[in-house]
Symmetry: C2
């Protein structure tokens, strides 16, 4: 059997598996090394500390959401439709993460609570995507130009106004009956507010 | 000295004082009785259990916010202006509660976490106030009639879209620089979305 090259991506994949199996309190770098069949020194060559490994695996978890939404943000088609799909896509992605594997979601919620810089960067990525859709909509003449301020300010306002439907703090509410109707109502209000 | 009559309101006032002084873990009905100079039996005549007393004091704490906003909801003047003042008033009230006495705020946050029925009722009161402003605005012809659904649905959407600026889960964000600008941007977006 030829050993696969030990890449950062393989280490992060194994780290997520270990977090899923043991939980945050018990997962160690030695567990990650063992799962990969390598020494813990080999893991440390890629991630200098346990903290660096945790930060990288959290970043990867968050990036999965923004990568999923990038094609909608940077795709073609009317901006209004893309904005609606983007907001729905964000909620879907978060809701899946929370519902499909609640324990892993809880583990990452603890991690993100301790890693505010990583979270800030993630929010920056998402708001940046939104801002590009707003920019397109203004160019099309569909979204009002004078509204609120620059594209980034408007994007931020939309992100805040939909917090209930993407902020993990609300995860417990997402499975309640009526949530989809509530979300549609908020999106309708926002889309109306954007129109020129 | 003539003893003041022991009213539920006096008991609740003393209960809040005791919660402020001792915190949730240590506050007892005996402490409340002692603060009032009465037997704990006298307290139990008004509130049958410690749980009932906690529920009532939490309800009173939440009611203070809705009572403060009622004059704006039920007052006169253009609905659009009242809506903006109501949203600002709600944020101000919550921010004051969080900032003026952080420990008492934290105590009530734990209490509300355990008393979902009391919180639901409080949210119902607030959404009801908002719905009355929406109704007025539609009668004036300033707010779009076809939007989202009935007045209550629209009110609920506004309440959700402003969660970041009244939900205690966000209290830690409220003192950050830029919060007022963020809130203004969300209100602008919502008010635009409501217009006919």
């Amino acid at each position: 059997m030829v050993a696969e090259a030990l890449t950062p991506e393989r280490i992060l994949e194994a780290t997520e598996d270990v977090l899923r199996r043991y939980g945050l309190g018990k997962a160690t770098v030695v567990d990650v090394a063992r799962a990969l069949g390598v020494s813990h020194g080999s893991v440390y060559r890629h991630f200098r500390t346990k903290a660096a490994l945790r930060e990288a695996v959290t970043q990867r978890w968050l990036d999965r959401t923004s990568e999923r939404l990038a094609p909608v943000a940077d795709g073609s088609g009317p901006a209004e439709d893309r904005l609606d799909r983007w907001l729905k896509g964000l909620f879907e992605a978060k809701r899946h993460k929370a519902g499909d594997d609640p324990e892993l979601f809880a583990t990452y919620s603890v991690l993100t609570g301790d890693l505010s810089a990583v979270v800030e960067r993630h929010i920056g990525d998402l708001v940046g995507q939104l801002a590009r859709i707003i920019e397109d909509g203004r160019r099309e003449g569909v979204f009002a130009k004078e509204l609120i301020g620059g594209n980034a300010d408007t994007a931020r306002a939309i992100f805040h106004a939909t917090a209930r439907f993407h902020d993990p703090a609300y995860a417990a509410e997402w499975s309640r009956p009526g949530t989809d109707e509530d979300f549609t109502a908020v999106r309708t209000l926002i889309l109306r507010g954007l129109r020129s």
